[in-house]
Assembly symmetry: C2
Homo-oligomer: 253 residues x 2
Amino acid sequence: MTTGQPTAAIRKTTLCRGCWAQMHLPVPIRGPLSLPFKVFGVTTSKMNPNLCTICERSFVRVTRAKEITKEASILFADIRGYTALSERLSPTAMTTLVRAFHDQCALAVWREDGIVNKSMGDGILAIFNFPIPIPDHARHAVDAARQIQRECAERLATLAQEFEPFDSPLGVGIGVHCGEVVIGEFSAGRSDYTAIGSVVNLAARLEGSARPGEVIVSEAVHARVPDLPGGLERRSLTLKGIGDPVPAYVLTA
Amino acid sequence: MTTGQPTAAIRKTTLCRGCWAQMHLPVPIRGPLSLPFKVFGVTTSKMNPNLCTICERSFVRVTRAKEITKEASILFADIRGYTALSERLSPTAMTTLVRAFHDQCALAVWREDGIVNKSMGDGILAIFNFPIPIPDHARHAVDAARQIQRECAERLATLAQEFEPFDSPLGVGIGVHCGEVVIGEFSAGRSDYTAIGSVVNLAARLEGSARPGEVIVSEAVHARVPDLPGGLERRSLTLKGIGDPVPAYVLTA
């Protein structure tokens, strides 16, 4: 098994799409014109290979603001049963599993023009509609979520067989919500931006209540993507930190 | 109110402590000798101002391994009641709050030679004993946790009054655990390392069950720091993804 080349199926651009969208600045990230930029440390971003490290690390310069309020879709994904699993797996098996999962997530998010903004342990946080503008960002986020589920189901099953027979179900849980978020640099060292706000929190909570193989989307996502694909189930969720039950929709493959 | 200068009380070194500890390589990060390095983009790391960007972004080069297994202490912290809060606060109030919290966390973690490895939303993940070696890392992690609680209590209370009277309690929850973790680059873009494993997961779960103002430490931490300070309460926790109840110790200021 190989962790593969996650960027294989991504349409790669010559110019940084973030710098172009945010500043109308042509920053070459591929081809001969990108060489002088590379000398000065401007390379492709780890958040999305069609962005550059200027987009990634110079939020204030790019947006000309300490933080911006923006409509966006937020996707959280993690491996269900990973806590129980990590008690039994060898370090090698565990890292192979996490790398495979992160690779598949990135591939799907990048195909849909989103960014893998953060990864913490096995989980990831993806943002759609910044810095690459996506008018139909909720649909792109849902499409990315379904791709992650489809591709991970196969890959994680293969990995599971390789390592040991698992008794606990090994699958991915995903939550998607959309609305106004605040994007900016909030960490003490600065230089890495993220999204915060109630939309981000709810997306995380939706993910937390997803069972293996499920994508749970909010009512706001359903309103923006009325023709949600797959088997659709309406579920009322009681979520930590939120008073009233939250209506949500569950997509299953 | 100002977000302040989080590095104010940190003892700053001239050489990168990570490159020295891991490779016995003297990399100047302050003073005239650091200038040629700055030209080539080697500056101080956002994870800890006594580390350089080589330590931060070139894990494989620094450790000469794709991943390493290491004894370390892991600290998770977040703002309790933040989800409920984020529904009501203005973007400005919310970002001020998160910035203040992240600044205080970083200050405490850096004082104890740890790194702020990740921040996601309002939460942070700190690692003690890599890349700066700390023989007594569990004690340092506990000390950082107590500093965060002490300093945040004051600062968040001031902020809370400034914005609006809160009805939900505003405080910080912290979890600390220690043991063997796997450190490596697992995200698809690579170039940012993190720690994974059951120790990391348990630390996150301990934090998740901490009430405002509490530091919850594992039995392993208690064994390494038997003279834990503060009022100590033994608590048996039922944690998501972990079968048996987990014994833990609660430190209150």
